[in-house]
Symmetry: C3
């Protein structure tokens, strides 16, 4: 989990994923020699800050978003949200402007709905602030800000080690309006004919989805995936004997939104571990669910 | 109207249009020999569950969505909506899970905003339920759930009988976020240069649109089509002497949303009969409006 | 500012930009001989009512939307909005239907939220009404309806005079759901490999953005542009010594929405003068901000 901790600490709010992207490119270049199949690594100008790993003859793509929620400094000491962070007075926020590194405190006035920071000096307009990482690990769980979605990224990297055929896409902006999966999905479809997607992301513990009961296969959220595709995934999970839970929600979304609305006939399904304390500095995930997440992805990338 | 009744009874909530798609492919293969022009019938993996009928040298495409509104079983006896169904305690819902066919009753708690079902046993998570079909026909009207949009599909099949040039597209997901017209419209534009769209769907009876007064040409809904295109359609209708009504709304939408936002320069216009008791088991449409809908489509596909 | 006044007076609500498009094509054909580089002028059926000017070897595109907010006549004397106009009883509205030119008065019933017009006769269903133009110029400012975005169009035309490499796109529907930038951006990317966008539009005076303090570079609105791109723009502005202000908002949007969601990897940044009395007949912009807007665009089109 050392790698996961490193990932959680990298500054990468939506729109500024550059540092995490650079870290991953480095990691991949260093480790790919030990992987079962050495993927083609695609990045650079045509992909903005995204990364594609292409293994063998791909049929299915894993999408893991790199970006996190956070805050942008507005005018005075006001803050505007990046994505939908949990807001509570006292949360520690970190960032950097031209005057140097920053560690400040969030203040939330629920009555006025106002978000501000407390800090010794004024922070430059437009500076991004993210939760300060306090990574905690027990025998049973990991806890930190940004398990959503550094854990989805981490899981994809585990899958990469033995992957023979498939694509892994590290995407941007998922937490704030999307914007990269549209062009990534076009590229994959046009270059490789790939149109099966799996969303490697973190979902919510609810009354129907409990920690430790296995990776979640989502039957729907605010959008509804094509039923026949989702049913194939459930059947593969069942046959493989990997612990899994079925989710049914009316809200929420993921990188899949862009696949659903794509000009190319993509199928998609959200497959990921559930977390509690969503979008807070204290996101917590059960290790058993992480294990079944990685296991299920390995099976799916082979059989789907 | 026997065909319409059959269409209304087929289970095809958004995301699971397979059965209606199969029915239509069968119907088309059986009947196309009697049609004036035998279309190319496109379906299969590259089109998910959609169908394209390509007649002659197409210039204009009809879009008729196959999917319906409905409900997904969540946890316990909770329901989540598919699209925006009318909800009233007592509505009969039907579906099927691994334990067999289901006929249950909808309960709506308006205070809590909670939707549940009443049934002798627990229904499997993720099962889709739709309104039970009670098809009623009089001399003047048809009444059933899902006239929206089985009537739009039915009308397109009538038009198919004599169509010489054009495309008919049977689409998916219209009631719940869209997702198929994006790729269908790309395909049509790239393969055939087609970029004129007509939305064969059902609209609402309002203070400005009355039953029996003719098919509706919508000048706008939540989106605004290009005025010059809509004006051409109105001029053709006027010249042809087909009864029609002009609609102007600030809300509502259709498959046209995806044409409007397309990467290809599509024009679109909604042309369809109005119904009362929208999205309920008792949708009702005047037969005169059905007749003028079919008539207007025949003229438009020739002259537009 | 005579040209600006002419632009402000042309009827071009979202969806019916034809008259402004025709005016611009005329203007461009007449004036391009005096420009430093004669652009290729692209318009016609494949571009609906949009226009593209392609200069030299383009790397960056300016997007200036032609359309305005307004009202559509519904049933009786009801009105439906086009985009988000300011509504106040007494505003003068103009338009035309088959019975002739119209000048009527807006009535807004805040309690019922109802918009109606007062006029001697009933106006035909679907007729578009826009604010009556009262163009006012002082030494310091211009004031009129529709500075948003005739000023963005006007600024782009100033830039055109000396532009050597780049594209200027005049777009449609920005005020009401978008719909043209999607296909324009695809075309530019496919034909010219262009994927750097600048949004030539008008923003708001706020507590952080004041009239007369320079053109606004927006660091974000409801969407977040890629940080590295925006930082390059700020650096160029700083180095060039053009007066500018940085904006940070949580709401609002522009033609950039379609670039962000594009199937092609576009970068974008909103760069434009701020106005007060937004979306009213009395929009006002400081002349110093107009001057710095034109200056900054000239530098950016060269250095970006």
């Amino acid at each position: 989990m050392n790698l996961l901790e490193q990932l959680c600490k990298i500054h990468a709010p939506a729109g500024n994923e550059k540092m995490l992207s650079d870290f991953l490119i480095n990691y991949i270049e260093q480790h790919k020699v030990q992987w079962k199949v050495k993927p083609e690594v695609l990045y650079g100008d045509e992909f903005q800050d995204c990364i594609l790993l292409v293994f063998g003859k791909p049929k299915t793509a894993i999408f893991a978003h790199m970006d996190s929620i956070g805050f942008t400094v507005r005018y005075g000491n006001q803050l505007v949200t990046i994505g939908g962070p949990d807001v509570k007075t006292g949360y520690k926020l970190v960032g950097e402007d031209e005057q140097g590194p920053i560690e400040c405190t969030l203040t939330y006035d629920a009555e006025e709905g106002e978000l501000t920071y407390e800090y010794a000096r004024e922070i430059e307009r437009g500076t991004e602030l993210v939760f300060k990482c306090d990574f905690r690990e027990t025998e049973e769980s990991v806890q930190s800000c940004y398990l959503d979605n550094r854990l989805g990224v981490w899981s994809a990297l585990q899958v990469a080690e033995t992957l023979e055929n498939g694509i892994i896409a590290f995407s941007c902006w998922e937490e704030h309006g999307g914007g990269s999966v549209s062009y990534l999905s076009r590229y994959m479809y046009e270059q490789y004919g790939v149109k099966q997607g799996l969303i490697s992301d973190i979902t919510w513990v609810t009354e129907g989805v409990q920690p430790g009961k296995g990776v979640v296969i989502s039957l729907r959220d605010s959008l509804i995936p094509r039923r026949s595709y989702v049913q194939r995934i459930v059947a593969i999970a069942r046959e493989a004997g990997v612990p899994y839970q079925l989710e049914v929600e009316g809200g929420g979304g993921s990188d899949a939104k862009e696949l659903q609305r794509s000009h190319y006939p993509w199928d998609w399904c959200f497959v990921g571990a559930p977390e509690d304390n969503v979008h807070s500095p204290d996101e917590i995930v059960h290790k058993a669910d992480i294990a079944s997440m990685v296991s299920l992805y390995k099976v799916l990338m082979e059989k789907l």
